[in-house]
């Protein structure tokens, strides 16, 4: 499997009134092409911060302090590896929504309430695909079949030809400010709307041409989330990051959306980074899972291995604490509380709540090490067990 995105020792700190909150403490994960990677953890563990760090949308008072985020773009060769943390903001703007897209938990907050839904989907095209669309329009204008006499056709041809070459030219931007001349963009907007209708229809939304004219408040929750997905997928990204995208939805709607994502993965996207706290969703949709606790990755494994043979005490406790369909007796709970990330416990951050603590856990932060075939974990107790041969 070829790698698509890799984070190496990612560190993010938040500088708050009460001190420095070490939100991410050397987070390393690998997402392969064509894979759904689930990032699981409870609130405050840093999974959203990881996603925001990858996209570099961390705001004050947070700052990415170190590490690398390497993305492998281009065809089969791995040579086109780019460290996202080193790139300029302009490069990142071209990347977001284009090669990496993100969808959020709250569709109400993700959609602009005073813009029609179709316009919002079209925005994605207008930002990233302007050159291509201008070129297409220019070719359509110049086509000999186009016999209808249009007085301004010559003017539009000139404008679109120069726009196809350089959409951000100074001349074009000045023309945008003059009220009537601004209308040259109408063809562009129509093309964007056409594409918006196309992608909304591809997502299985009935009557896309009508839906595109609606405002967000006229749509239901599931529909809004589907529009958010349409905006994210508009430019065919290679990686889709879903930050608790179905947590706020009803059970039946969640089933629909997960089904949709699975279908899209087969057709359109390459990989999905699914961030959630729901282990059921992870079990059903993901290929590989990473478990986070208090800013550290504590276990990474293929989904089958994680659920059948969890290694890290936190993963084991988490699986015991989830209510299951076929369970008897009491739910086990994890004693204690999530630590305050401003003053984390020394050594392994889970040790105050762990039933298998050994002395070294209190002093040294464990490294993420491969214990079995492609099954990594960061735990001293597990390493001890491996050394003494209790794990084959």
């Amino acid at each position: 499997m070829t790698k698509l995105l890799e984070t190496i020792d990612l560190k993010t700190h938040f500088y708050t009134y009460e001190g420095v909150v070490k939100a991410l403490n050397k987070v390393s994960l690998v997402i392969d092409q064509g894979q759904t990677f689930g990032l699981v953890g409870e609130s405050g563990c840093g999974k959203s911060v990881t996603a925001h760090s990858i996209m570099r949308i961390i705001q004050e008072p947070g700052r990415i302090e170190g590490g690398k985020v390497i993305i492998y773009l281009g065809e089969k060769s791995q040579c086109a590896s780019i460290d996202l943390l080193q790139q300029s903001e302009a490069y990142m703007e071209g990347l977001r929504g284009n090669q990496i897209s993100m969808i959020f938990q709250e569709p109400n907050a993700a959609l602009n309430p005073i813009m029609r839904v179709g316009d919002q989907v079209g925005e994605s095209f207008l930002f990233h695909r302007k050159k291509e669309m201008c070129k297409k329009i220019f070719e359509a204008l110049c086509a000999p079949k186009n016999n209808r006499f249009h007085p301004l056709k010559k003017f539009q041809q000139i404008v679109y030809r120069s726009a196809a070459r350089n959409p951000d030219a100074f001349v074009l931007r000045t023309m945008d400010m003059i009220p009537l001349i601004r209308r040259w963009q109408n063809r562009l907007k129509k093309e964007a709307k056409r594409r918006a209708i196309e992608i909304v229809g591809r997502l299985g939304i009935p009557h896309p041409d009508q839906i595109v004219e609606q405002y967000p408040h006229q749509l239901s929750g599931g529909m809004k989330q589907r529009i958010v997905i349409a905006i994210a997928l508009a430019c065919n990204p290679t990686l889709l990051i879903a930050d608790e995208a179905t947590s706020n939805l009803d059970v039946t709607i969640q089933a629909q959306i997960l089904d949709l994502l699975a279908q899209l993965k087969r057709e359109a996207i390459s990989s999905i980074l699914l961030i959630t706290h729901d282990l059921g969703v992870v079990a059903e949709t993901c290929d590989r899972v990473g478990v986070m606790y208090a800013g550290n990755i504590v276990e990474v494994a293929d989904v089958k291995d994680l659920f059948e043979r969890p290694l890290h005490p936190y993963t084991m406790a988490l699986l015991d604490a989830v209510p299951k369909l076929s369970m008897e007796g009491k739910l086990k709970s994890i004693k204690g509380n999530v630590p305050n990330l401003g003053f984390p416990p020394p050594g392994c951050r889970f040790h105050p709540r762990c039933s298998y603590t050994i002395d070294v856990c209190r002093e040294l932060l464990p490294e993420l090490i491969e214990i079995e075939n492609n099954h990594l974990t960061a735990c001293h107790w597990v390493m001890e067990r491996k050394k003494t041969g209790r794990i084959s």
Partner: protein
């Protein structure tokens, strides 16, 4: 088992006011005729998706909202079954007269907004006690500490503000406030939905323990079916303001009879790998409660809809011990959904 509360044809309609003169246009029919009996000492789970009216049911029972139709009856602990108090239209001021003050309580969903951010924990928990009796400050403080201990908190937490606690701890404070008034019946409105998984199990275990120790009755409102399976004795499924199915939890999960129940059960994401299942995916979205479909409310999304379903609303009929369902095709449900088709329950396999 003795009843504690009885709901008869309970209706709650919210008028939508349109136009300059605020004329009542249509109404949002949040509850449209609920018949439900709640027995003492049990935990009744009320499940459904958003907009089905489950939260409204809880609010109407404890009189935070007045129903627009139907009746709510309260049965006293020491009385005979026919001696019931009609609390449908009762004003809160007359609660004291009927010795009902504090007997019906509620724990809310969002622990952040259910506690007054400007009050100390001690004041929050002491308030219900002070509303009932006058105690000396020393005695009051001892009672508050006893309540805190019961929910798993300590004396150190007395003089702190709610925002200094985590979500789980805030929910514990909310539970302590609810039991401070010596209630008999508590409505739990999605108490664990805003909490993490590990904390959720703590709170659920706490609620179970308190129910046994204090002999309480719960109405557990949630959309999370696995939680309902863990904590409730009986479960009712609601859709668009009506009850679709009521049964003991074991029966509901092993032999569901309503297509909507099947859909809900098959939609639960299971934290176990390797279980291939055909999911029953419902088409479309939930209709608006202002305009519920005629006949059976579920017919617009039901995969087994007949013409009869579109015209005639099915009544809630008894089909087994304590099992009632509202569906025209409930006796054929075995044929429509093969047993193994989408059943996540491992006990049933062919």
């Amino acid at each position: 088992m003795k009843k504690i509360l009885e709901l008869q044809d309970l209706k709650k309609h919210y008028p939508i006011q349109k136009g300059v003169f605020r004329r009542t246009g249509s109404t949002i029919k949040a509850l449209d005729g609920i018949d439900l009996d709640i027995y003492r000492g049990e935990c009744l789970g009320l499940v459904g998706e958003s907009g089905c009216g489950k939260t409204t049911t809880g609010k109407v029972i404890i009189r935070l909202a007045s129903p627009t139709g139907g009746r709510v009856y309260y049965h006293r602990e020491m009385g005979n079954p026919d001696d019931r108090v009609d609390i449908t239209g009762l004003k809160k001021s007359s609660f004291k007269k009927h010795h009902l003050q504090g007997k019906l309580q509620m724990v809310f969903q969002d622990p952040a907004s259910s506690l007054n951010p400007r009050m100390l924990v001690k004041q929050i928990i002491a308030e219900p006690i002070k509303a009932k009796v006058r105690l000396k400050s020393r005695v009051l403080e001892d009672r508050v500490i006893a309540l805190l201990n019961r929910v798993g908190l300590t004396e150190d937490h007395l003089f702190r503000y709610p925002h200094e606690f985590s979500g789980g701890q805030r929910q514990r404070i909310a539970v302590a406030r609810a039991i401070a008034a010596d209630p008999e019946f508590i409505v739990l409105d999605e108490p664990t939905s805003a909490l993490d998984v590990s904390v959720q199990s703590q709170i659920l275990n706490l609620l179970k323990t308190i129910q046994k120790t204090l002999g309480l009755t719960y109405l557990f409102v949630t959309h999370h079916l696995l939680v309902v399976k863990y904590i409730s004795d009986r479960t009712a499924v609601m859709y668009l303001g009506k009850i679709m199915e009521v049964a003991s939890t074991a029966d509901l999960f092993s032999t569901p009879l309503h297509p909507y129940t099947h859909a809900l059960l098959s939609g639960i994401p299971i934290p176990e790998v390797g279980r291939k299942k055909h999911r029953m995916i419902l088409s479309g979205d939930v209709p608006s409660p202002a305009n519920p479909p005629p006949g059976c409310r579920f017919h617009t999304r039901c995969p087994f809809v007949l013409d009869r379903c579109r015209a005639e609303e099915p009544a809630l009929v008894k089909v087994g011990k304590g099992h009632r369902v509202a569906c025209h095709r409930q006796h054929e449900i075995d044929l429509l959904i093969p047993k193994n088709h989408n059943h996540p329950n491992p006990e049933i396999s062919h």
